[in-house]
């Protein structure tokens, strides 16, 4: 358990006081990426106005400290941007904004990037528009049955 000491102050801040946690009712777009088997799932909700500006972003994440911190930072970075700019919030941008991540946690920032893309894809599909450079989300949750059926005490 050495991760704690490897996290930057910014990561610890965004993990301990995550921004924009929650859901948006009737979101313009929502995307879920990752899978429970690997221990990371991110869900991002976007509220996008008629000028294609991201008014609000919220998230829910199941995962480690880095997963929660990258989700928090990703929502901060897309807020106020138009959809094309939001698409340019890459994993690198998220990592840089957090002051870096330990090497084994870089995949968390990729997941955050994919969560943005998945939410934008949902928005594009709902509104029947196409956003240049946006590809369909690749990551789906692995909703295994036993996860929900696993009962009580051993």
């Amino acid at each position: 358990m050495s991760q704690v000491t490897e996290y930057s102050e910014k990561v610890m801040d965004h993990f301990s006081n995550p921004r924009n946690v929650g859901e948006i009712e009737n979101p313009s777009g929502v995307g879920t990426v990752g899978n429970a088997k690997c221990g990371d799932i991110m869900r991002m909700y976007l509220d996008i106005d008629e000028n294609q500006i991201v008014r609000e972003a919220k998230f829910k994440t199941f995962g480690c400290g880095a997963a929660i911190a990258t989700s928090s930072m990703a929502t901060e970075l897309v807020k106020g941007k138009n959809v094309r700019e939001a698409l340019e919030v890459t994993n690198k941008a998220v990592m840089e904004a957090l002051g870096g991540l330990p090497p084994v946690k870089v995949h968390c920032s990729l997941l955050a990037e994919q969560a943005i893309h998945a939410a934008l894809w949902d928005y594009a599909e709902k509104n029947n528009i196409s956003i240049e450079g946006l590809t369909p989300p690749v990551n789906d949750i692995d909703e295994t049955k036993e996860f929900y059926e696993m009962q009580g005490e051993g």
């Binding site: 704690v4 301990s16 429970a36 088997k37 221990g39 990371d40 005490e153």
Partner: protein
């Protein structure tokens, strides 16, 4: 940090002042090499042998059967590689379990790369092996059975005496990794038919860097550490006098207080388990509730991930550990939790709390209150919990 509650005693323990004081002279005054000829060293060699005698007495062994090493991993490596090499002409089959410590598992994997065959026995949902399956796995070529005394993650105590009986019946050497059990459970190598036993001082309030391998009289195994003639020519390296003295003291104290400690810790452990299971929904205890180390509690909390939990516990001053992938540096969660049948998703949300005889009832209450708050908080952020709640509403 203002407050610290140490609940990771399976990882290591505090050297108690009594043990430390016993060791102190062997650093600054009695610093001679016990192997040297002069009287100054002779006294140290005698003291080392007293510690050997004390330790041997705690497990019903003879002092000539105790060999000091630098720790549990070395002892496991020595036992397994030593027997594998010694008996390679007799056979190349080893039986172990899926829930061993990596010091055993990775040693077995190493031997597999060198032409040995290893059977990894499965365990049931409590972490217990099946004696029937063990007996069925024994072949004419089987040279060693290596099964841990008690599991380091979930605290399950294996039926060691019965395993020893089976091993003896079939004439197979029986090694047990007792790193978590020595000093915490009553052990008798004769009654339990144990041929080789690994232990480590720092798990029972002794110092780090010293362990032992008990080798039953008459058992031959190849050396692992070659060099000088220390430890009756079976384990080279300058005798760690201070460490061994500390080990001896720690073992003496641990076994003198054993019943009292077990009674005290079990009470606290049971309170911890009871409160968690009753007060935190969708939680479960891992391991056997009866055959269990008195200091071990291991839980899974659904919809949350272990590393996040650990960091938040740490912020509250609680030191604990987890079997989640994120804390192991690999993609898979703990092999022990998977072996008892937990799906990956649930194994990721595990936390191990291992107490000591210095843990107080207030510590337990504080830990449970903290866990409640943290699990609640992480669930409020968890998309899995969100989905679960929505499904429940619909259903």
């Amino acid at each position: 940090m203002s407050k610290m509650i140490y609940m990771d005693n399976a990882a290591t323990t505090r050297v108690t002042p009594e043990v430390f004081e016993a060791m102190r002279p062997y650093f600054t005054e009695l610093y001679g090499n016990p192997s040297s000829a002069y009287e100054f060293s002779g006294k140290i060699a005698k003291d080392v042998n007293e510690a050997r005698k004390t330790i041997a007495g705690t497990i019903g062994a003879n002092e000539s059967e105790i060999y000091f090493t630098n720790g549990g991993s070395e002892s496991d490596n020595w036992a397994i590689k030593g027997i594998a090499d010694q008996l390679k002409d007799k056979g190349k089959h080893i039986i172990t379990t899926k829930i061993e410590h990596h010091a055993v598992l990775h040693t077995c994997e190493f031997l597999e790369e060198h032409g040995y065959e290893v059977t990894y026995l499965p365990v049931d949902e409590k972490g217990l092996i099946s004696l029937e399956e063990l007996e069925k796995a024994i072949k004419p070529e089987t040279i060693l059975i290596s099964i841990m005394f008690a599991n380091n993650e979930i605290g399950t105590i294996e039926p060691v005496a019965k395993i020893g009986e089976i091993a003896r019946k079939h004439g197979v050497i029986f090694h047990t990794d007792a790193v978590q059990a020595f000093g915490h459970v009553a052990i008798n190598v004769d009654e339990m038919n144990i041929d080789l036993l690994s232990a480590s001082a720092h798990k029972l309030n002794g110092p780090k860097g010293v362990g032992l391998l008990y080798i039953r009289k008459g058992i031959k195994l190849s050396n692992l550490i070659h060099g000088g003639a220390q430890e009756h020519g079976r384990r080279a390296g300058t005798t760690n006098a201070a460490g061994i003295i500390g080990f001896g003291k720690a073992a003496e104290i641990a076994y003198r207080k054993l019943e009292e400690t077990i009674r005290y810790e079990s009470k606290l452990r049971d309170k911890l388990i009871k409160r968690v299971v009753e007060e935190i929904p969708y939680s479960r205890v891992n391991g056997d509730l009866e055959n269990r180390l008195s200091n071990n509690a291991n839980f899974c909390f659904r919809f949350v991930e272990g590393e996040s939990l650990l960091i938040l516990l740490d912020k509250k001053g609680i030191c604990a550990s987890s079997g989640s992938a994120c804390t192991s540096g690999s993609l898979d969660p703990s092999h022990v939790l998977l072996a008892i049948g937990l799906p990956h998703e649930i194994a990721h949300g595990s936390v191990r709390l291992t107490i000591s005889d210095e843990t107080t009832e207030e510590d337990i209450d504080y830990a449970v209150d903290s866990l409640k708050e943290i699990v609640d908080r992480l669930r409020s952020m968890s998309p899995l919990y969100e989905d679960f709640v929505k499904k429940e509403k619909v259903g």
